[in-house]
């Protein structure tokens, strides 16, 4: 298979209530494509966490999903503040989310760790003041 199927989403940073919508759409697409339920779940959860992160910390960004029969790649890109200490950010329970968001039940410090847990590979490229790009891949086992 040469060219991957690409889905592009703009994640609106000003509208917290719409956070997570891209992930729901991707879930529907993957279902139509006939991926196994556990693959769909892993993609949907890691994408959901990433989307929420972009809305909370970076004022939104873009999400691109590239689908091939053997792998699904999710690229999340924002022009937010960047991550100061990636190692610290990867620790479960560490969070810099504001109280306003925590009161809604977000900001538990599980976003990035969950994204790593549910994907086979995760690369974080970040620069302070410039933004963050996260590339995640989920491998599809041969049936």
């Amino acid at each position: 298979m040469s060219e991957p199927l690409r889905f592009h989403f703009d994640v609106d940073g000003s509208n917290f209530t719409s956070a997570g919508e891209a992930s729901i759409q991707i879930k529907q697409k993957l279902r139509q494509l006939g991926f196994a339920p556990d693959i769909i779940k892993r993609v949907a959860i890691s994408m959901y966490e990433g989307e929420i992160n972009m809305v909370i910390h970076a004022g939104g960004g873009t999400a691109d999903v590239y689908v091939l029969p053997e792998t699904i790649k999710i690229v999340l890109e924002d022009h937010g503040p960047g991550i100061a200490d990636v190692e610290l950010a990867m620790q479960e329970g560490f969070s810099t989310a504001p109280d306003s968001v925590r009161s809604l039940g977000f900001g538990a410090g599980m976003g990035l760790p969950n994204m790593k847990r549910y994907t086979d590979n995760m690369i974080i490229e970040t620069e302070l003041g410039k933004g963050t790009k996260i590339t995640m891949t989920v491998n599809v086992p041969r049936q």
């Binding site: 298979m1 060219e3 991957p4 199927l5 997570g20 992930s23 729901i24 879930k27 529907q28 697409k29 279902r31 139509q32 494509l33 006939g34 991926f35 339920p37 769909i40 779940k41 949907a44 959860i45 959901y48 689908v67 091939l68 029969p69 039940g105 599809v140």
Partner: protein, 440 residues
């Protein structure tokens, strides 16, 4: 799986091919082809939304006629609590029950009684360690089917307990055989008075493997003969044994509040329900024990086969249940195992996921098709007008790639083509007339 028997059907004569149902069908199961609506039976969940909306009354619910059980020796009516909310100024449930006996039933068994037992065993079920939470109610057949078609990971969350309608049928038959030992099981017919077409589908398609309901009639068909019979009654027999819990099942929140635990959610309206399910599926939910979902606004009182406005019916039920005991059917016994659920209350098989929207068997091919859909979609206007007969441009692109529709059917594109042709025509006339002058 055997072919699915739907209880929503179309009267082609009456259908004008308008886009009302097309655009509002929650599962995009409808297309307008050859001037009238067509329902895709794989996708339809029998929610009844199209029956509710059709301005020409072309959508109908299929149900049994009362006559269909006239040859049985012993006929038992199974009235659900939503039926009690249909009557203005009703002081006591007994008037309804006596009315049912007067229109020809030999016995009555209230579904509200069974609902109280289901509530009791739901509380027991929730005490079991290791079950997947939140537990989702299995009472609304639309929800059960929706989950089986779209939510593979939530199939396990659906409570493996029979709905009150089935339990009522089971207990009614048992009770009849105890009261009348001369009766054989084949002499008895139970008849549920349904507020919705989905319950009909539940029984006709054996959602719970075996069914204890032999006949399902529509509530709005029974309403008028019943009303006439009720007007004649002076003093009904005091036979009702419903409590507050049983009657409350008729509207949203009734079932959920009966788990006696504040960790529950109750939602109604198919569009709200789908959002809730998407959220649970994503794990973005507070910790909950129990989820009650009803396809109809207001709960069963909002069923499309009811007579009264759901909110009025609900208000009436509040009056009706006011001086009733909390429950008249559940025996709370402290010594008994509080996790116990009897086997005959359980649905024998776990809910199976059966996807419908898959583009192709093979992922490679599906990806190719999806890419084609995207290409078609880019050429479409994106105004989701529905004139092509598909509910929106996305669905139309899907239909084009599947070979079920022709891209040229898009009215907006057609208009553009006509404009182009007209411009070409004008241009041609111009040059022809200029050319004509020259030759003169």
């Amino acid at each position: 799986m055997a072919e699915y028997k739907h209880s929503v059907a179309l009267d082609i004569e009456k259908c004008k091919g308008c886009t009302t149902c097309l655009k509002r069908c929650p599962t995009e199961a409808i297309r307008i082809r050859n001037g009238h609506a067509e329902i895709n039976s794989m996708r339809c969940i029998d929610c009844g939304e199209c029956i509710r909306l059709c301005p020409y009354k072309a959508k109908k619910a299929i149900s049994d006629k009362l006559d269909s059980i006239k040859n049985y020796k012993y006929k038992i009516a199974l009235p659900p609590p939503s039926l009690y909310g249909q009557f203005d100024g009703l002081e006591d449930v007994d008037y309804v029950l006596q009315g049912l006996l007067d229109i020809g039933f030999d016995d009555v068994f209230e579904v509200a009684r069974a609902a109280e037992l289901v509530s009791g065993y739901t509380r027991h079920f929730l005490n079991n360690p290791g079950i997947k939470k939140p537990v989702i109610s299995s009472a609304c057949p639309v929800i059960v089917r929706l989950i089986s078609l779209r939510f593979p990971f939530l199939c396990e969350n659906v409570m493996p307990l029979l709905p009150p309608m089935e339990i009522a049928g089971m207990l009614a038959k048992k009770q009849a055989m105890e009261k009348h030992p001369e009766l054989k099981e084949s002499d008895i017919a139970t008849c549920f008075i349904s507020p919705c077409p989905a319950k009909v589908s539940y029984v006709k398609n054996n959602f719970s493997q075996t069914t204890y309901v032999d006949c399902i009639v529509s509530m709005n068909e029974v309403f008028f003969p019943l009303l006439a019979a009720m007007k004649k009654i002076k003093n009904p027999q005091p036979v009702s044994r419903s409590g507050i819990i049983g009657i409350s099942w008729a509207s949203t929140g009734g079932e959920a509040s009966a788990i006696f635990n504040d960790k529950y959610l109750a939602a109604d309206g198919i569009e709200n329900v789908m959002k809730v399910l998407d959220n649970i599926d994503n794990g973005s939910f507070p910790e909950l024990e129990f989820i009650e979902l009803n396809a109809c606004h207001g709960g069963c009182v909002g069923g499309v086969l009811t007579v009264e406005n759901p909110y009025i019916a609900k208000a009436r039920l509040q009056t009706l249940r006011r001086y009733l005991p909390v429950s008249q059917n559940w025996n709370y016994n402290k010594d008994k195992d509080n996790k116990y659920v009897p086997d005959d209350y359980k649905i024998p098989n776990e809910l199976q996921y059966c996807p419908v929207s898959q583009l192709a068997e093979n992922t490679n091919e599906a990806i190719k098709k999806m890419a084609d859909i995207q290409k078609v979609l880019e050429r479409l206007p994106g105004i989701d007008c529905g004139s092509c007969g598909s509910p929106n441009c996305q669905a139309f692109a899907y239909d084009v790639v599947k070979g079920e529709a022709d891209e040229n059917e898009c009215i907006v594109k057609m208009r553009e083509r006509i404009k182009e042709l007209l411009a070409e025509e004008k241009e041609r006339e111009k040059t022809e007339s200029v050319g004509g002058q020259k030759t003169e």
